[in-house]
Symmetry: C2
Subunit: 317 residues, 2 copies
Amino acid sequence: MFERAVAGERRALGRLLTLVERGGPAGDELAEIAHPRAGHCHVVGLTGAPGAGKSTITGRLAAAASAARADDTPGVGVVAIDPSSPITGGAILGDRIRMDEVIDREGTFVRSMATRGSSGGLALAVPGAIRVLDAVAYDPVIIETVGVGQVEVDIAGTADTTVVVVTPGWGDAVQANKAGLLEVADIFVVNKAERPGASDARRDLELMLDLGAHPVEGVPHWRAPILMTTATDGTGIDELWNEVGKHRTWLQETGELENRRQSRDRFEMLGRVDELLGAVGRARAESDHGVRLLGEVKERSMSPAAAASELLNDLLQ
Amino acid sequence: MFERAVAGERRALGRLLTLVERGGPAGDELAEIAHPRAGHCHVVGLTGAPGAGKSTITGRLAAAASAARADDTPGVGVVAIDPSSPITGGAILGDRIRMDEVIDREGTFVRSMATRGSSGGLALAVPGAIRVLDAVAYDPVIIETVGVGQVEVDIAGTADTTVVVVTPGWGDAVQANKAGLLEVADIFVVNKAERPGASDARRDLELMLDLGAHPVEGVPHWRAPILMTTATDGTGIDELWNEVGKHRTWLQETGELENRRQSRDRFEMLGRVDELLGAVGRARAESDHGVRLLGEVKERSMSPAAAASELLNDLLQ
């Protein structure tokens, strides 16, 4: 199936991504096949608050990237992460429709991933999806996540180029800062730039960049540019695509690209380590020893924390 | 400090809760002191979508509980969980102010907990806060969480009595179902019941309860009642408080209370196990062995998943 996906069969690729999302032995096997062939695509992370227009920007950016691609390449991969809670799912469905309106169906492969409440699953499924798209030569791969929740921010932050989208409006830049989005941003986009307050939002971001900037001698420094867009009519998208290219060149020339990729490998390895250790923990909790300790917690002769330490006693030397 | 909190000193109690939130050795020590004295209070979890009016309901429910308390008890504890992302923090600040308007300051202790993006921290801090409030005789303790994200739903779901708040409007009940809120609900509240669509929301919930109901012989079954409230003017709050009392009695009479508490102990123990194992995993990733494996991932001679398995080889027999 992998070879069929490499040959350009979109249905085969879709099935591979389903295997990645499901995890398990088939997903593992696929990772082993894809890993040696991956490592070429540029990964763009795009994140921001709900309603900032991320999906529309992603769709337009994908169209710009697709138009610029070489003839012998399949095009642009897009992985859109639905928020882990279906409570806000309605808005996302709307977004998906908006994205469909602007993408170039030929040169773009869009995959929407539900997280089913499992942020741990997300931390593994996204790198896995990037690997498969990468191995079958999609380039760039754009990852769109809502910038709410640590895992989502981390995922966007481990991209090669991270784009943070804000909108005009009181305190949006401040909120993005608190959410840790400022630290991960390589490029800022003030979307809905035709609205009142857009220049204020820009000024807020400039100020925060000034406050946060303390370049270290000998360490390459990139100051995140701030772009103004109106994604609904496409204004500013070409400039954004251009800046992504500049950042890509900067990463290559400074060697930062290697660092980013190592962070991403590390993030994935740790995600997997957490998954494996989680299974170890649950198995121990369900063992006779675990049940006995829970009994002591119930009798109030032992706290849950003490029971946990006791349960892992041999590992915590 | 614990003794001063027991004696009714609110500032001492506030400091204890700060220790719980910070974690670390002082928090652990506190848990050891508090655990043997806890286990008496009724824990009410209150959850629902953002903007459903949870804070106002919590405030009014706390006032009703406080009015009904015995003279020699300190009253009602409230732990309100701010969402893990500060992006939506603005709305919450507004909520907090609304809650302040309705609570009885004398008989209620309100604690707002920020989660700082760490859902793992939340899974430990909330049981810790319940334990402390419980040990100094607050009863009931109400936990308010936004029903977005697995950890938040889990926390509300491990309460003795879980109240799920929905509002009239297309699909809200359906969304609550998808988020796993239906499964954890002991009581439903349709808030903003004066709005159009309230009776539709009620009907949707009834239907979903009918579909989901398959009582097992010999296992006590509680069908979640559906209450209509207008929290802003207090309509329906006495009925809600009354239903919480009925559910409490049902839990005691059927023995379900013990089951709930064991689940809660287990949830906390597993949260702690995850924390401890997470540290083990990070230490291994940073070891020479971990760095060497990451090098192989970079050279593409090993996938991140294979590296993780190798790193934990001795634990995964």
